[in-house]
């Protein structure tokens, strides 16, 4: 399974991560070799095998619907790189 640079660029876009040309090149090769290695899984017949998503046989873990005090706003904003008027500030969307 060989990836193309184009695929790597697409995945980087989905992951919102700018990659340098060198990184693109390197990841293309490395991911190809890892996926190639993972190809061994295809030699296994898994028809009818239930995928394992949760290792614990637990169901219905709930909390009751009670509202409690939230975190003080200064604390929730304390680690923010940029905040204004009690809100997180981000550059324009468009």
């Amino acid at each position: 399974m060989a990836l193309t640079i184009k695929e790597v660029e697409h995945v980087a876009m989905l992951a919102r991560m700018n990659l340098s040309e060198d990184e693109k090149q390197r990841f293309t090769e490395q991911l190809s070799s890892i996926l190639n290695y993972a190809g061994v899984l295809n030699t296994l017949d898994t028809d009818g095998v239930e995928p394992l998503t949760h290792i614990l046989p637990a169901f219905n873990v709930f909390r009751t619907d009670t509202a409690r005090n939230s975190m003080p706003r200064e604390e929730i904003l304390k680690n923010a790189p940029l905040a204004e008027e009690g809100q997180y500030k981000v550059p324009k969307i468009m």
Partner: protein, 481 residues
């Protein structure tokens, strides 16, 4: 000329009525100062984990039952991955392939014809935060992020593409709202965003089997917006096709100011939500017993109420449909009916005067000053002849404006009906004598003449004359001439 058919499917997000958020204990109250209802969980801080609010699941099942859905025995959560500043984890906890409700329906009534609209599924998910733009979204250099709304529990209800007109879409939305209100699962306040709607719209030449290119319209925050947007979009799509353009599948937004839809995202930006099972939340298992238990506690749904009104009280279907649009309206009606036996009279007043005054003043029946007891008192005063129906309307307006009881209004205004012959006869005779020409008309068989006399008599008694009595005495008098 090609005739086109419109195909509409709706995705409705209803905020579920809980005290606390879906995965943390922050309050869901509307309108708080920005970021005062947040915590490390809903703000997506590292190391935090979601804890599912039990009430959310219960309300989702309730909704499913109200929409005649299947409730599968196992359902689970998935992560839906996308980056946006109002989505703190950059994934939304939602349900992908195992939603809590599947395969239901909703019956709607459009211009007297009944239709069944399929419900594909309903799934639980968390709401995102809010972006506040400094100025216009397209020109502002910065936006502010308020996470209060993050983690408010939502139920996304997805319909089949079963609607064929804007009227049907609106009827579906209205009916869905009333079902959610009756089930008590959501406040459905569209103006506060607790009920939101996206529409998938396509057109195709009539008779064609395949669907046309689907366009998703977001931001439809009122029934009117939904109706207008569908109409605009259908027109736009048909025009594009007629001009030989190819439509591309895209997401558009409804611009309320300009009353148009606008393309929202650039085409090259691919969407791939990369759903996968949420490892932080064990699956939900819902037993038959649990479903039965919830079923047993289900309140009356609008359809059942409509049937009751038609069957037990003989109301026309139309009346029954209107009276069951919201639980508050139905409660008002039922309350009146427990004190006054004539359902149709109550219905007429509610659908007529009350509804007119509510609309005029933009009020809701739940906060209106007239209480069922007041309406019933007034109906009794009309019935026993103390006031006429026409006087009743005036009294009703006063009641609506300041909440006084009808008896007090009548007393204050001296609005008692004149029903004794001794008082009415001199007035009637005087008016007949003053209008010999009209008497002549009456003799010549002109029916209008009676109306004229009655009007004059009512005028000179300031509307207080008993109309039945006036009619009777007037006729006797005229015929004896």
């Amino acid at each position: 000329m090609i005739i086109y058919e419109t195909v509409i499917g709706l995705e409705v997000h209803a905020e579920l009525k809980t005290q606390s958020k879906i995965f943390c204990s922050c309050s869901t109250a509307f309108g708080a100062e920005p970021n005062t209802q947040t915590c490390p969980v809903c703000a997506g801080f590292p190391g935090t984990l979601p804890l599912l609010n039990e009430k959310v699941v219960e309300l989702a099942i309730k909704t499913g039952l109200a929409l005649h859905c299947e409730i599968p025995p196992i359902s689970k959560f998935d992560r839906k991955n996308y980056f946006y500043p109002d989505s703190p984890k950059a994934y939304q906890i939602s349900q992908f392939d195992m939603p809590v409700c599947k395969k239901g329906y909703l019956d709607i009534d459009v211009n007297g014809s009944k239709q069944r609209i399929g419900i594909t599924r309903a799934h639980i998910e968390e709401d995102a935060g809010k972006l506040v733009h400094q100025g216009d979204i397209t020109t502002t250099p910065f936006s502010l992020v308020d996470l209060n709304r993050c983690g408010i529990p939502l139920l996304e209800i997805v319909s089949e593409p079963d609607m064929r007109s804007s009227a049907e879409a609106r009827a579906y939305m209205e009916k869905l709202r009333s079902v959610l209100l009756f089930a008590g699962v959501s406040d459905c306040k569209m103006e506060e965003g607790s009920l939101r709607c996206d529409a998938n719209i396509s057109v195709r030449p009539a008779g064609q089997k395949e669907f046309g290119t689907r366009i998703e319209i977001k931001n439809l925050n009122s029934f009117r917006a939904l109706e207008r947007a569908v109409e605009y979009e259908v027109k736009r799509q048909i025009e594009a096709l007629e001009d030989g353009e190819e439509l591309v599948q895209e997401t558009r937004t409804w611009d309320e100011d300009k009353q148009i839809t606008r393309s929202m995202r650039s085409k090259e930006e691919a969407h791939d939500y990369r759903y996968f099972p949420e490892p932080d939340l064990p699956p939900i298992s819902i037993s038959r017993e649990r479903i039965e238990e919830i079923k047993a506690r289900m309140p009356e749904m609008p359809e059942q109420a409509q049937m009751r009104l038609v069957r037990d009280y003989g109301l026309p279907e139309y009346d029954a449909a209107i009276l069951t649009l919201s639980p508050e309206t139905l409660v008002f009606f039922d309350d009146c009916l427990s004190r006054y036996p004539d359902a149709k009279v109550i219905s007429n007043w509610m659908m007529g005067e009350l509804s007119r005054l509510l609309n005029q003043s933009n009020q809701d029946i739940s906060n209106c000053k007239i209480k069922p007891d007041d309406l019933v008192q007034m109906l009794r005063l009309i019935e026993d002849g103390t006031i006429s129906g026409k006087m009743g309307k005036a009294v009703f307006e006063e009641m609506f404006a300041d909440g006084k009881s009808p008896a007090i209004i009548i007393k204050e205004k001296g609005l008692v009906q004149i029903s004794d012959e001794g008082s009415l006869l001199p007035v009637i005779e005087g008016i007949i004598q003053a209008n010999p020409k009209v008497v002549e008309d009456y003799k010549n068989g002109k029916d209008k003449a009676v109306g004229f006399f009655v009007g004059q008599i009512m005028k000179s008694t300031r509307g207080q004359a008993n109309p039945a009595m006036v009619n009777k005495l007037l006729k006797e008098k005229l015929d004896s001439l």
